[in-house]
């Protein structure tokens, strides 16, 4: 990256009210460190207790989801790339998180998120309670992802938004999966 590219990047981040942005290997250590940083920032900004708790919870859920389900890129084995941006929008906060998935999971993820999008807050709460009792930890691709999305939907003040885009040079096999939460 050239300095002028970096400058455009920085200006775009500033314009989008980004508090922080990360792209790279995702690990529990990275998640915990960023989580602590986020909490420190929220305390400094004097955010309400409930906002701070929901934002922290959503941050952990999105990042752990990225960590668990992210697909390694064939040309960089061993790396689980994720990217995340946290920032402010009016008097709220947003989290946008991205990770790479295999295309065969697209339909399943869309189905889950589309069904949550049709629920009102009561239905989300009921579905969360139902999912919590469902001890199906053997299912390796779902592994409670349903409950993770429901946790995000419960805490988000706007419907969850998501999108999938081709990974350049891996069209047809891999996609970037982006998820956006507003607290």
């Amino acid at each position: 990256m050239q300095i002028d590219q970096f400058n455009s990047f920085e200006q775009a981040a500033s314009k989008a009210s980004v508090l922080f942005y990360y792209r790279g290997d995702v690990s529990q250590a990275v998640i915990s460190t960023m989580g602590d940083t986020l909490r420190g920032r929220l305390t400094y900004m004097d955010a309400k207790g409930s906002t701070s708790r929901k934002l922290f919870s959503s941050f952990i859920e999105t990042m752990q989801n990225a960590l668990q389900y992210s697909q390694e890129l064939p040309d960089s084995p061993g790396q689980r790339i994720g990217s995340v941006s946290v920032g402010t929008i009016d008097d709220q906060f947003f989290i946008v998180c991205g990770n790479i998935i295999e295309n065969k999971y697209q339909a399943r993820i869309s189905e889950k998120l589309d069904s949550i999008a049709r629920m009102n807050s009561e239905e989300i709460r009921a579905a969360y309670r139902e999912q919590m009792k469902n001890d199906s930890s053997d299912d390796t691709i779902s592994k409670g992802a349903g409950l993770g999305f429901l946790t995000l939907a419960r805490d988000s003040s706007a419907p969850l938004q998501y999108a999938m885009f081709d990974v350049p040079e891996h069209e047809g096999d891999l996609s970037w999966f982006y998820l956006r939460v507003v607290i």
Binding site: S32, L67, S137
Partner: protein
């Protein structure tokens, strides 16, 4: 047989004093791999409950946050306590939450609805 783990990063403090029938947990639980943290606790608890009869068991839980992978395990743990209370022990669950934490408060009320045999008390504490 007692279990004690100090709180560490994404793991809560665990103080299961089986000899006193007092099971306490405090802090935050968001391990990356929920099975590694929770399964040994559940296994030991199950063993303890099997070997315990006619006891007054008190569970003190002060959790301020847990991730979605942990919630199922927590729920399973309370299910085991409820089952034991149906059979041969008396179990009190004190579910403490910060007074302005609606999420933890409603989780506590959900527990008391779902596990009616537990003597479940949802207790607000000032921060």
């Amino acid at each position: 047989m007692n279990i004690y783990h100090a709180a560490a990063g994404e793991l809560p403090e665990v103080d299961f004093e089986f000899d006193k029938h007092v099971l306490s947990m405090k802090g935050e639980a968001f391990p990356e791999n929920a099975n590694i943290f929770w399964d040994p606790l559940l296994a030991t608890l199950e063993e303890y409950l099997k070997a315990t009869d006619d006891a007054d068991i008190v569970a003190n839980f002060r959790l301020s946050y847990f991730n979605s992978a942990s919630v199922k395990k927590l729920y399973a743990m309370f299910g085991m306590l409820n089952e034991s209370a149906c059979k041969n022990n008396r179990v009190t669950l004190n579910w403490y939450h910060e007074e302005d934490d609606d999420t933890m408060q409603s989780f506590g009320s959900d527990l008391s609805e779902d596990f009616p045999v537990l003597d479940c008390r949802v207790i607000a504490e000032a921060v």
